[in-house]
Symmetry: C2
Subunit: 205 residues, 2 copies
């Protein structure tokens, strides 16, 4: 990674932390450059404007989340051949990872984009939508494989169930932040896992 890329990453790190705690509109460039110890001109060398910073940040965030999810659920499939059990293992690993974040999940950029939509151009909103749709497809694939083997015990729309993974994480983050209790996110993921168990597992005791 060249020096320029390093600076870019540092600027995005600082901006991300600020955006997640103050929102995009209240995140000032002056504040970012002060913390990064760079001049305003230096900032605008890397990003044409604030929106380009947002776009780059969101892209980086989504790519990173995808990588993390790949690792977790690939690992889970390594640990068990059965799709249902692999999925349940993956959810447990996911919950553990969320519980191990030292000061809780810092927040999801996808959620802040939703709650700041008017501030972003169409490109960013599209990127955001595509990220969520990719999550849906990811989990839908797993759920279809599960439903083929284990008939669900209640009539559910698998697409909505796939969305429930993301929804649980987004909701869990908000709850964790609202109550200042990081562990809530992991709890919510485990409750979703309990639902998957009850829905697909033939005999739970």
């Amino acid at each position: 990674m060249g020096k320029g890329q390093q600076t870019r990453e540092r600027l995005m790190d600082i901006a991300e932390a600020s955006v997640l705690t103050k929102g995009f509109g209240a995140t000032s460039i002056d504040e970012i450059i002060a913390e990064a110890e760079i001049t305003k001109s230096g900032f605008f060398y890397h990003f044409r404007d604030k929106n380009e910073l947002a776009r780059a940040m969101l892209l980086r965030y989504v790519e990173n989340e995808d990588k993390v999810l790949d690792e977790i659920f690939d690992r889970a499939r390594e640990l068990h051949d059965d799709p249902l059990h692999a999925f349940l293992i993956g959810l447990k690993l996911f919950a553990e990872m969320m519980a191990d974040l030292p000061s809780g999940h810092p927040g999801c950029l996808v959620a802040t984009v939703c709650y700041n939509e008017r501030l972003f151009d169409q490109k960013i909103r599209d990127l955001n939508e595509r990220a969520v749709l990719a999550w849906r497809e990811r989990f839908l694939t797993e759920l279809r494989a599960i439903a083929e083997i284990y008939p669900p015990k209640d009539k559910v729309n698998l697409e909505a169930l796939a969305d429930m993974v993301s929804s649980t994480v987004e909701g869990g983050i908000v709850m964790s932040k609202a109550l200042g209790q990081p562990k809530i996110l992991a709890e919510q993921i485990l409750l979703f896992r309990s639902y998957v168990k009850l829905l697909f597992l033939p005999a739970v005791n």
Copy 2:
């Protein structure tokens, strides 16, 4: 309601819509007063500063949500004596209400406070926390009554399960906004309802 109170409400209506789509930091007083057709002096007659507007807005929002939830779950208890069935009916009514919002749920102020925490004083963050804790207590009471009659089929922390109602709504709103599909929120509530059914109902067919 006096004229002053009417203006206050109008200012909060306008501010709320803006805060939910642009964040608090990007919501300008100039923009609010332009839409409300009032002067800046008029604004500051009603609210000492932006933070007082936020406090009043959040308080109003939370009180209103509580009222809506009271109505829905009181009605549900009217329709069925059994706590589990009453809760399931309540969730269905809730989902229907969310599905009937013409352009989807506009967003939750509690979530925006979480994602703008650094912009607000302790008073507001406390108010936010208390609101979420009140939701927890509300649903915990119902769940305890249910669990006394129907032994849960999986080991669950009832407190976390109570939080799952709020979490589902918060997550569902984010998903609805991210994908531009209002119905997702209702779907997610119905999936939570399905979980409650599988968890407590003795024989689901």
